[in-house]
Subunit: 137 residues, 2 copies
């Protein structure tokens, strides 16, 4: 394989991963549970490092999302797809409440999502000592 | 430009962004302040959405890092570079304390970092109601 071919191959893998990330958010937002299930590996792993929670398997992951409370809505703020890894910065809203989420996806060689890691950074008050450098919004 | 040329161009932009992300973490970890300053745009913007803090300009951003308390250390857990955007999942440690950080970088057309957004997802106890689906670690 020539150097150019190798680079184009990598771009194609990234394109598949990008589409998987876009579809993932779209199917969650639309409560398309069969569509979501169809894009996961059988043994998909879902992790939330902040609570040290882990869930295994397609059925459990879809069930988790079906049961997630509230009329939540998702919008992509940033997306970075790179080979078989994607990072998403999501705007997550339930009514008037807004929170950011940082999501990492691993995609299999067949284009299915094999791992999802959710980070939920919550608001907090800044520590003292840096007021001379920052503004607040 | 042919379709293949366009895709290779995008790969090269991504390579520049990937290197900028790697260098960014390396220069922070090594307290290489001149090296860090050299890879930022004059008007770099740094944001922490959780505290709604924003800081503007290369000098203020380097100063913020020089003054950041503690003997902190950074290690990359995941990196996704995509055109002129990169996402980093960092392992941040001060002594025995560990925390994850999710960092988004924007890179200028000249390969300089023009925006840094830090998310600091902190540990919390999981809400009740999903014990039947998850394991803890």
């Amino acid at each position: 394989m020539s150097s150019v071919d190798a680079r184009v191959h990598a771009v194609d893998e990234t394109s598949t991963t990008r589409q998987a990330a876009l579809d993932y958010v779209d199917r969650l937002e639309n409560r398309d549970w069969p569509g979501l299930a169809a894009m996961l590996t059988d043994d998909v792993v879902y992790e939330m490092p902040q609570t040290r929670e882990r869930l295994r398997g397609r059925d459990a992951f879809v069930r988790f999302n079906i049961e997630y409370p509230g009329d939540w809505h998702l919008r992509i703020r940033q997306l970075a797809a790179d080979g078989r890894v994607a990072a998403l910065w999501l705007d997550f809203r339930v009514g008037a409440d807004q929170q950011d989420a940082c999501v990492w996806l691993d995609v299999s060689e067949h284009g299915l999502i094999s791992r999802v890691v959710d980070h939920w950074p919550e608001p907090y008050e800044p520590p003292p000592g840096r007021e001379h450098l920052v503004e607040r919004w």
